[in-house]
């Protein structure tokens, strides 16, 4: 798509938030799977990317997603203490504190990014998280359009 076409799309009324969701293989991706098989309804805006562990998520992935056109980023992993690799999600939690504040300092609304814990059986929590973030981002509008 050309840049001009994208611009008109982000300002038009039928704009839909683009959410990038990083889900860990062992908890949240399985949780998302369960949400699907249980037919739980949630917005289709999230593009789910499976990673082995939230600890594998380089902060650059999150920032690059925002830079390249995502309106919001969701990171979903195992509950602290339940990590398949013992401490991957604790590393993500520590990084998240810094990322969230840096994003805020750079002038981006921190409600555009969300970190949540959802185990493989918590399909409803996963779906609720996606719904919440999508609605928050919908209210804030397109990231590129925020400063017009």
């Amino acid at each position: 798509m050309t840049e001009a076409a994208q611009e008109t799309k982000t300002t038009s009324e039928d704009w839909e938030p683009k959410i990038v969701a990083f889900c860990c293989n062992w908890c949240s991706y399985a949780g998302a799977d369960l949400a699907g098989t249980s037919r739980i309804q949630y917005p289709p805006n999230a593009r789910i990317i499976r990673v082995n562990c939230t600890g594998r998520i380089d902060p650059e992935f999150i920032l690059a997603a925002l830079d390249m056109g995502a309106d919001g980023v969701l990171v979903s992993g195992c509950h602290p203490g339940d990590c398949h690799y013992t401490s991957g999600n604790l590393k993500m939690r520590a990084r998240w504190a810094l990322i969230k504040r840096a994003v805020e300092q750079a002038g981006i609304d921190p409600r555009r990014i969300r970190l949540q814990w959802a185990s493989a059986s918590e399909a409803q929590i996963f779906a609720d998280g996606v719904t919440l973030l999508t609605e928050q981002v919908r209210k804030l509008g397109p990231l590129r359009g925020q400063w017009r």
Partner: protein, 307 residues
């Protein structure tokens, strides 16, 4: 003796420290200077823009550009340098990544002018000067957005040894070889792979001189930083602040790498981290903000305002 190599040294908005570091190669200048035919160097002699403009395009062999394009004059000089020089070197971290002057992008231009001129504590009735000075660019973009560079020589400043190596290679017509290692590669401290229970500010506690500073709790950006400095600070007891920018490929986000690194070493409660890292953007993106992802988003935002 061979023909001297023609060089031009330009500078945008910066502290002039990189050229200071060039002069600091000291007695070795005696070897280097006779081999240089200096066509333009406003920092040491009375050159004007028209002197540089009067040379035919591509007639100067090597150009150094220090600093960022904060004003329209800087931008004009940068573009002229590119036109006149066959090889253009981004000299210093400002020129490569945006550097310290790039931190001005934390604020919009109005806020920055307010602090510098209008509400400056040391003047009364301050005004933004408009006569005989070039107008400001609305936002600091990395120089590489305006022109293509052939070589990036980062550092704040690039060390005298690095400059000497680079200049000698250029004079001999050889390629400059820059080893792609991080600062840790040059650090003599011992590392034991232990997670850190708490983060310390530089003034807290007494650091063990033989152990990795990061493992003792001090935030050291060595593992996210290109080690062209050969570990000067870390081997003398100071933490690395990241002044040489990201490890090659230098297009990656140094701040993000730093945040990732700290998270790996300190998987502790978010509150405990934020208590000690109150300004992550200034801490991890200190030298590379304009060319980072967050900086790009900010630049687009500021530019949209002026349209």
């Amino acid at each position: 003796m061979t023909e001297p190599v023609s060089v031009a040294m330009g500078q945008g908005s910066s502290c002039w420290g990189c050229y200071q570091s060039l002069v600091d190669i000291h007695l070795r200048l005696a070897d280097v200077l006779p081999k240089l035919d200096i066509k333009f160097w406003a920092c040491v002699a009375d050159f004007k823009h028209k002197d540089l403009e009067s040379y035919p395009d591509g007639s100067i062999a090597v150009g150094f550009y220090e600093g960022v394009a904060r004003t329209e004059e800087d931008l004009h000089l940068l573009k002229t340098m590119r036109k006149k020089c066959k090889t253009l070197i981004a000299f210093g971290s400002c020129s490569c990544f945006g550097g310290i002057p790039g931190l001005a992008n934390f604020y919009d231009i109005e806020d920055a002018l307010k602090v510098k001129f209008k509400d400056n504590k040391t003047v009364s009735g301050g005004q933004v000067p408009t006569e005989n000075v070039p107008p400001f660019e609305p936002v600091i973009r990395p120089n590489s957005d305006y022109v293509d560079f052939d070589i990036y020589l980062p550092g704040c400043p690039p060390t005298s040894d690095l400059i000497f190596t680079a200049v000698s290679a250029l004079l001999e017509g050889k390629e400059i070889e820059l080893p792609p290692y991080a600062v840790c590669h040059y650090c003599n401290r011992e590392k034991k792979e232990t997670p850190i229970p708490e983060i310390l500010r530089p003034y807290e506690g007494v650091a063990d001189p033989d152990r990795c500073l990061l493992e003792q709790g001090y935030v050291c950006l060595g593992s996210a930083t290109w080690g062209l400095c050969e570990g000067q600070c870390v081997n003398r007891g100071a933490t690395c602040r990241g002044c040489f920018g990201p490890v090659p490929p230098i297009s990656q986000d140094q701040g993000a790498a730093g945040v990732g690194m700290l998270g790996t070493y300190a998987p502790i409660e978010p509150d405990k981290i934020l208590e000690k890292c109150k300004d992550p953007l200034g801490m991890f993106w200190r030298f590379s903000y304009p060319s980072s992802h967050l900086g790009r988003i900010r630049i687009r935002r500021e530019e949209a305002k002026t349209k």
